[in-house]
C-alpha cells in the first residue's frame, strides 16, 4: 500500500511487528528504507522529504512516540503532511511493564501535537485504516498516526 501511495522514503526504528514490512521496503527498488538512531530523526527527515517533493512514512514502536513530541512542532508549524505507522506495545497482554507507560500515553502524545490518531485492532481492517491515513496525510495534507494494535503483531495480514 505504501507503494500505491508513491511513498519513497521509509525511515524506521525497528519493531518486531514491523519486521516484515521493513524487509519488504528494503526489497522494493522505488523505496529507500532509512534506519534511524531515534524516532525524532524520522520526523525531521519526513519534513525534509516533503520539502523536496517525496512522500515518506515513519515506522516505529509506540515507545518511540514520546521521543518525537518536540520535533512534531516542525510538522505543525510548517503544516507538513505526515504519516507514521506505529506498532503498539504496552496494551494487549503486555508482559513487559516498562512498555506500558509510553504505550498507554501514545494516543495522547500524538493528539497533544495535533497529530490525528487512527487505530486498527483487527487484521481485516488494517488495509482500510492505513489507506484512510495515507489519504488524509498525503492528499489532505494532515498529520496522521496509524496505531497498529498489539493484537495484530505477528499477524500476516498486518504487513502491506
Amino acid at each position: 500500500m505504501l507503494k500505491e501511495f508513491d511513498v519513497r522514503q521509509v525511515p524506521y526504528v525497528p519493531d518486531g511487528g514491523l519486521a516484515e514490512l521493513i524487509l519488504a521496503v528494503q526489497a522494493e527498488p522505488s523505496m529507500r528504507a532509512i534506519s534511524l538512531t531515534t524516532e525524532e530523526e524520522g520526523v525531521a527527515l519526513s519534513a525534509g522529504a516533503w520539502l523536496g517533493g517525496q512522500r515518506s512514512a515513519l515506522l516505529m514502536q509506540s515507545s518511540g512516540v514520546g521521543n518525537c513530541v518536540n520535533m512534531l512542532s516542525l510538522i505543525k508549524t510548517c503544516r507538513f503532511p505526515f504519516l507514521s505507522l506505529v506498532t503498539m506495545r504496552g496494551e494487549w497482554g503486555e508482559f513487559n511493564p516498562w512498555q506500558v507507560p509510553m504505550g498507554q500515553a501514545t494516543p495522547a502524545a500524538f493528539e497533544m501535537m495535533d497529530v490525528q490518531v487512527l487505530r486498527a485492532d483487527h487484521p481485516e481492517e488494517v488495509g482500510a485504516v492505513v489507506r484512510a491515513g495515507a489519504k488524509t496525510a498525503y492528499e489532505g495534507g494532515s498529520a496522521v498516526a496509524v496505531l497498529l494494535s498489539q493484537r495484530l503483531i505477528g499477524s500476516k495480514e498486518f504487513v502491506k
Binding site: T37, L45, S46, A47, G52, G53
Partner: protein, 200 residues
Amino acid sequence: MRGGRKIKGRLDRREAVAALLAPRRDTLVVTGLGAATYDVAAAGDHERNFYLWGAMGGTLALGLGLALAQPEVPVLVVTGDGEMLMGLGSFATLAQQVPGNLTVVILDNGLYGETGQQETHTAGATDLAAVAKACGIADSTTLTTLAEVGTLAARAHAVGKQPTVAVVKIAREDAPRVVPVREGAYNKSRLRVALGLSAD
C-alpha cells in the same frame, strides 16, 4: 550585543558564512535554529533557504530527507554546535545513506548563544568532526581559516560522491540578529515552488 570571549585566530561567523555561500547557484540551504539561521539570513534571503526556528536536533535529518528527495541538487545544512549535539545520532543515520549532495557545516563557538552563552560540550572535550568520522562519515574535518572555508564552498555547491561534514571554528562574539521569515508554512511553500513543486 553580548560580549563573548575572543579566542585568537577564530573566524568571524558572518565572514565564514558569507564565504561559504558566495559560490551558490541552485543550492538548497537548511539552517539550524539560533545564530546559524541569522548568519545565513545575513548573507541574503533566498527562495531556496529553509530556516528552522525550533526542532532542535533535527536540522541534519531534515537536510538528509531533502537531499535524498533531490539528489541532483546540492543541499547545505548550516547549524551550530549546540543544535548538532542534540542530534548526534543523525551523523550515524547520514553515514548509512551516503548522499553525495549533502554538506553539513557546523559553526562551532562552543556556546549556546541564544540562551546566555553557556558553554557547550565542544568547549570541553567533544570534537564534532571526530564524532562524525567515527559514525562513518569519511569526509569530516575541522576548519580554522577562511581559505579552508573557501575550498569547502567550492565543493559544497556541487554534487559529489559522498557527504561532507565540516566543523568551522568561529569566534565567540555575537553578531547582530538578522531575522528571516518565521512563518514555517510559507517558507516551506516558497522553497517547494522554487523547486517547481506545488506549494503544499
